[in-house]
């Protein structure tokens, strides 16, 4: 594997301009001081109750995501490119979804194979021909980005269903401002604290046309046992909207209502953090206890907006991912500003043959997996694991894609032995409203806390960092 690009020291070992202040500070701060701040940060997180749950770990119902106190820095110019690329990508995602559930030009033009759409479990036939308010499907997108050198940012994954993590972006900044006020004076860092306002403005802008002037927006959560519950309550609080569970809502005569102490109240926009499958037991999984019976009927009647729309999985599915550059060109007639990671589709025989020959160098991902589960990282896997995966791959090649093992960029990070470069990725959040697209500068930086490790997923021991976009 190539030497990773270090965002502080570049490839030549010279401190890059965006990091000059931070590098000077890192050079002067005592190790025990850094350690002290790290513990202080953990205490703060524990007290405000920012926790997340890991599925399958009985004891770990409430665990902290490790937080690294050394921020990641992006220059204004870097961010501008990324931000333009994000806007372009999300515009394409929305046009594609509108098309898939409408005229299907993209299939007719042969850009995307039809079977990948129609045989895909995340495709929602219920949405065929349905109009969604203002033709917006993905109101909140989390686009995962990795960097491999000074100029190249790849989109690793689109998250167009119920992306999470934005609460960490906001809380990380709060904690950093409390712990290191001096550093904030030495830099000029674009704020992120307006995200809740931007989100609320976005959600209000997409209310159904018939809604009264001030639409009622709620956040629908699966409840306190959901791994992202903290985030749901955090956002509802910052937005000043009700945090509802399925049982708080009901549908009557085609409209959605919530049960309040003053009787039923109409709901116009539902920022839902419940998956499609569980949204409405009458339309999807009948055993769902998390949803609202009849919600789909109110939705297709155009009386309530769901954000994100139902069926957006067909845009961020790993099987579709590799077609995104062509999809983007098809709708916008532009070259993608943010590239895709080169991807081999195992469904295509030549690609499969290449992948089978190069398993030891590649990352192979299950098309329907997420959270870092069900993947093979060739270079670090032992022989037995590679062979086991080879067998799986031969049985069902359509279920997999493969990518080169990327040398993800690194950032200085606190580890047991002091400060060391660790691999990072970035999840910016893109908000699409009726009026415009809004992106707060930065996003959530995830970091693999073991030096050398490439797994940044919080469910597998990754941590987070504050992300600083310099103002100039």
């Amino acid at each position: 594997m190539r030497q990773a690009f270090d965002e502080m020291k570049g490839s030549d070992g010279l401190v890059r301009p965006a990091y000059s202040e931070l590098a000077a500070w890192l050079g002067s701060v005592r190790p025990d001081e850094l350690d002290h701040r790290r513990r202080e940060a953990e205490l703060l997180f524990r007290r405000i109750g920012i926790t997340f749950a890991v599925y399958g770990e009985a004891d770990a119902q409430e665990r902290l995501i490790p937080f690294d106190v050394i921020p990641r820095v992006l220059s204004a110019a870097e961010w501008q490119t990324v931000s333009r690329g994000l806007e372009q990508r999300v515009r394409a995602l929305n046009m594609y979804l509108h098309d898939i559930y409408g005229r299907r030009e993209v299939l007719k033009a042969g850009i995307v194979p039809a079977d990948l759409v129609f045989q895909n479990p995340v495709f929602r036939p219920e949405m065929n021909g349905q109009k969604v308010p203002h033709d917006i499907y993905v109101h909140i997108a989390g686009i995962d980005i990795v960097r491999v050198d000074a100029d190249t940012f790849y989109v690793l994954e689109d998250n167009a269903r119920t992306p999470s993590g934005v609460s960490y972006m906001l809380e990380n900044r709060e904690i950093m401002m409390r712990l290191f006020p001096e550093l904030f004076f030495r830099h000029r860092i674009a704020p992120v604290e307006n995200y809740p306002d931007e989100l609320l403005a976005t959600l209000k802008s997409v209310a159904p046309d018939r809604t009264a002037s001030d639409p009622t927006v709620v956040l629908l959560t699966p409840g306190i046992y959901n791994s992202a519950y903290y985030e749901h309550s955090f956002l509802a609080d910052k937005l000043g909207i009700e945090l509802v569970e399925g049982r708080d809502l009901f549908v009557k005569d085609g409209f959605a209502y919530m049960r309040t102490t003053q009787g039923p109240q109409r709901v116009d926009v539902i920022y839902r953090r419940v998956d499609d499958d569980f949204l409405d037991p009458l339309a999807f999984r009948p055993d769902s206890m998390l949803g609202v019976a009849g919600l789909m009927s109110a939705y297709v009647a155009g009386n309530v907006t769901l954000a994100n729309a139902v069926g957006t999985g067909i845009a961020d599915d790993k099987a579709i991912y590799s077609y995104m550059p062509e999809i983007l060109k098809f709708y916008l007639g532009e070259e993608p500003i943010l590239k895709n990671v080169p991807t081999w589709r195992c469904r295509e025989p030549e690609h499969l043959a290449y992948v089978l020959d190069h398993l030891e160098e590649l990352v192979v991902k299950e098309v329907h997996g997420s959270g870092g589960y069900g993947m093979l990282i060739g270079p670090t896997a032992d022989n037995a694991a590679v062979e086991a995966f080879r067998a799986k791959l031969k049985v069902k090649p359509t279920g997999f894609i493969a990518q080169p093992t990327l040398a993800l960029s690194t950032c200085p990070t606190c580890v047991e032995a002091g400060v060391a470069p660790c691999h990072v990725d970035l999840r910016p959040f893109v908000l699409t409203g009726r009026d415009k697209i809004r992106i707060v500068p930065g996003g959530l930086t995830r970091v693999a806390l073991k030096p050398g490790s490439l797994v940044v997923n919080s469910s597998q021991g990754g941590g987070t960092k504050d992300t600083w976009v310099l103002d100039r």
Binding site: I48, G49, Y229, E242, D248, R259, T260, T261
Partner: protein, 313 residues
């Protein structure tokens, strides 16, 4: 506000109040049982503590004997007792988590810290000193939660529902002590105990934190009928039935004011308060203290149902 939020606020406050009450009666019992038998007689204080806690049936389903060890474990730590102090905090925090958005950060911090702290207390205290510290800690946690609610919450329906929870629980607790100990509180001429009961009266007052208040209000040595008067009719005494109902009426009226509508809950609370305002202890003794308390407990339950029907369902 969401009905479920109101319900959570209501029960959150109730469970914190209940934890404090359990700590108080356990503390009072420890004091009484530490006295030589000659001062308190040979009644089983631990059994009456379980009854005051309102969980005698559940207790005796698990244990055959009410003694210090069993009762302490059951009321303070048992996972099997849904209303043990431990479970009160557990349930309170679960409720708090579900309504994080309706709590101020100070309230969340106080209930979350208490819950974290509770994990550090073992299941069986090593000594009476340690247990005494635990009981003090429970009361302090409740005070901290109550104080943070009082000082930081917006004065709106969320606040009022949480207050209603406090007073509904408090009225229930005070009534329950009276129900278990009523035979000790009769006027002198009907009374069958005599001076032996002095420490019992003090114990009752202590369990509702009213021993000092008693002396300020009556400026007399302990008299059972005055103890009853203080706990039932005295509006200055924050844990008296009269005071609880004054507060219930006030907070329910505020909700009605905000919503622009009175309902069965307001009427039920007002009926009970008016009765308490117009009663004298002599009349209560005449019709029977025990009967009076039974009626009160039934009425208080009825108010709980009315609140549920009107707002929380």
């Amino acid at each position: 506000m969401l009905s479920r939020t109101a319900e959570n606020m209501y029960w959150l406050a109730r469970y914190v109040e209940r934890a404090e009450y359990l700590a108080r009666i356990l503390e009072a019992t420890h004091r009484i049982t530490a006295l030589p038998l000659a001062y308190v007689g040979d009644t089983n204080e631990w059994e009456s503590t379980v009854e005051s806690a309102g969980c005698a049936p559940e207790f005796f389903a698990t244990y055959s004997e009410a003694n210090e060890e069993n009762v302490t474990d059951f009321l303070a730590f048992s996972a099997a007792n849904p209303s043990s102090i431990r479970n009160c905090f557990e349930i309170a925090r679960t409720n708090a988590r579900a309504v994080r958005t309706a709590l101020t950060s100070e309230m969340w911090d106080s209930i979350n810290s208490a819950w974290l702290e509770l994990k550090r207390f073992g299941n069986t205290p090593n000594s009476r000193e340690e247990f005494a510290r635990f009981l003090r800690w429970v009361q302090e946690s409740s005070l901290r939660f109550d104080g943070s609610a009082y000082r930081t919450m917006l004065r709106n329906d969320a606040y009022w529902f949480s207050r209603i929870g406090v007073y509904a629980e408090r009225a229930d607790n005070t009534a329950r002590i009276l129900d278990v100990k009523y035979h000790l509180l009769l006027p002198a001429d009907e009374h069958v105990g005599g001076p032996l009961d002095y420490y019992q009266w003090a114990g009752i007052l202590r369990s509702v934190s009213a021993l000092t208040s008693y002396h300020w209000v009556y400026r007399e040595s302990l008299k059972p009928w005055l103890v009853a008067d203080l706990l039932i009719l005295n509006e200055q005494m924050p844990r008296s039935l009269a005071s609880c109902y004054e507060n219930l009426v006030r907070n329910l009226d505020r909700i009605a004011g905000q919503y622009g509508r009175q309902g069965p809950a307001q009427r039920q609370a007002r009926v009970v308060r008016t009765r308490l305002q117009n009663l004298r202890m002599e009349a209560i003794f005449q019709t029977g203290l025990h009967e009076f308390i039974e009626t009160f407990i039934a009425d208080n339950d009825k108010l709980g149902e009315a609140i549920t029907q009107q707002y929380l369902a």
